[in-house]
Symmetry: C2
Subunit: 329 residues, 2 copies
């Protein structure tokens, strides 16, 4: 018991001193589903929390092929060179994909990975988006406690992951391409409403013209949406991450957003609303974990599933049986 306290304390001290390797170990702890490790993780989080929150959290989404890795390398590198402390996290339950996009392509991410002001963490593995989301949210806290002030949270835009990233960020950036028939079509409903900025990447050489046309199209489309509660009007920018063009403008836009919503109170309001949402999510995940991790349920559930397959029971009967058992455990 003594030793355990000591280790969390030690980890905590290293993390708030900005030790990246300790931060990595801290995130690994947070990602561990083992109940004992979860206790330690809760302790670590509680200690780190007073040091967190001093950051801007930027969500970045876009379909595969849009150049997310290159953009994050360019944008993160620009910020790190400016003296910002940049942490890159990924949210995706299909971890192979985002591992590919963040760390797989070493040649593109090499500079940022080795930058003294940057920290890159691939997607946590997890069997549900809820689980992955919790781990990412907790990783954000640790990164912030370690002094990272600019968080880039990436998602590959599959299923609900954008909504998840949107629920944990201050600014939501949608990366797009032009010239590939990729203008308005293929945008999932709801993504446009979430975006604070649309950045059209690869706007160079023969792509420049189509990108400009796409910009007009997106601007028109954005005009159709009612003004956001926080008073921010989503903007459309062009960039070429590969040639490091338009990167500064993206940062200027985010800075002006930050200034505006900090002034009118919506930065703080949004974080409070997100915290309330996280409370409910954390509870729901915990309720499920308690149930499905219980040894008796672990033994009974597969039997009930088999019985359903054999038409010996119905989902309602089986659920009632398991829930009744659980109630009396």
């Amino acid at each position: 018991f003594r030793k355990k306290e000591l280790k969390v304390d030690e980890l905590y001290n290293q993390i708030i001193n900005g030790d990246k390797s300790a931060l990595s170990r801290g995130i690994t702890l947070v990602e561990n589903n083992n109940p004992k490790q979860q206790e330690k993780s809760a302790e670590l989080l509680e200690k780190c929390l007073p040091h967190a929150n001093r950051s801007i959290r930027i969500g970045i989404t876009g379909v595969p092929g849009v150049g997310k890795s290159t953009f994050i390398e360019a944008f993160g590198g620009y910020l790190a060179d400016k003296g910002k402390k940049v942490a890159v996290l990924a949210v995706d339950p299909t971890s192979t994909v985002s591992r590919g996009s963040i760390l797989g392509d070493k040649t593109r991410m090499e500079t940022l990975v080795n930058h003294k002001n940057a920290f890159i963490r691939p997607s946590p593995s997890g069997d549900s988006l809820g689980g992955v989301a919790r781990k990412t949210r907790e990783s954000i806290i640790l990164c912030e406690a370690a002094g990272f002030d600019t968080l880039l949270i990436e998602t590959v835009g599959v299923g609900q992951s954008e909504t998840t990233v949107h629920s944990m960020t201050d600014f939501f950036l949608l990366l797009k391409l032009a010239g590939a028939g990729d203008e308005l079509q293929g945008i999932k409903r709801g993504i446009m409403e979430m975006a604070d900025a649309i950045v059209i990447n690869k706007a160079d050489a023969e792509n420049k013209r189509p990108a400009e046309r796409a910009r007009s199209e997106f601007r028109r489309a954005l005009h159709l949406y009612p003004e956001k509660e926080n008073g921010w009007k989503p903007q459309v920018l062009l960039c070429s991450a590969l040639h490091r063009e338009g990167i500064e403008e993206v940062w200027e836009l985010i800075s002006s957003f930050e200034e505006k919503v900090k002034k009118n109170g919506f930065f703080e309001h949004n974080r409070q609303e997100q915290n309330k949402f996280w409370l409910l999510q954390t509870i729901n995940e915990a309720l499920k974990n308690r149930f499905y991790q219980h040894p008796e349920i672990k033994e009974l559930l597969p039997k009930q599933l088999k019985a359903i397959e054999r038409n010996e029971t119905t989902p309602f009967e089986a659920a009632a049986l398991l829930l009744e058992k659980y109630r009396n455990l």
Copy 2:
């Protein structure tokens, strides 16, 4: 106690005798979240289950404006005239929308509503898609026990509702429009994969040509997907629900689907997989209900939410506190 048993028995007898008003009352009972009513509801379901399952469950989705009400009126009317017993249910947590689409526009649904072989039930109210889904699944059982053999389950296609409807139906029909720039664009990823048929509505007069072009486009697009496990190749049809054209062809297609997957065993296999999914969903909903409906939690949760707003606590601390309290209750 005596009286309660009598009432469920009575309701059960009326339902299996095909009494539509009893069926309505049964669904109202199933939709009631009150724990006492939920007990009765479980009893009713258990009694009805042996009489259920003898049906084809058809999911129908499409964006607002695509003509879902008109299509359901035409298609449901055609089937009811044929002697089928048709029940129409809606899945949507945003109940105002689907109430509008099913019952609001009386002039369009009038014929089906009054048909002796038809039963129409608007969307259940509910604060989560999970809750609405459970109610709809249980309503399906009651409808089937009442002798309805053809279930049309409608969703307006907002958020996750298609996935939910897909998880409770045998056949999934995507309704589309042509000529409104509505061909492939605006289709959410995943919807195409779910569709067993795409039906292009309003394919009449000056819309006929664009509809035919859209049909080619959809056919090409569908070819890009790998063959479904059940051996079914999704089809694209044209119809004009308003002019009652192409309706019979839709039913013939569904019948040939039913024959094929009943022969190769996938009809049954799919229902078993759905039942396993329902088991887990039912459990997850129940775990949440137990927690959030608990009197102590009902009192404590709003206080913790307030404390989060005032930055007096964090989502993690608040969740830990509530979960610990709940564990010891």
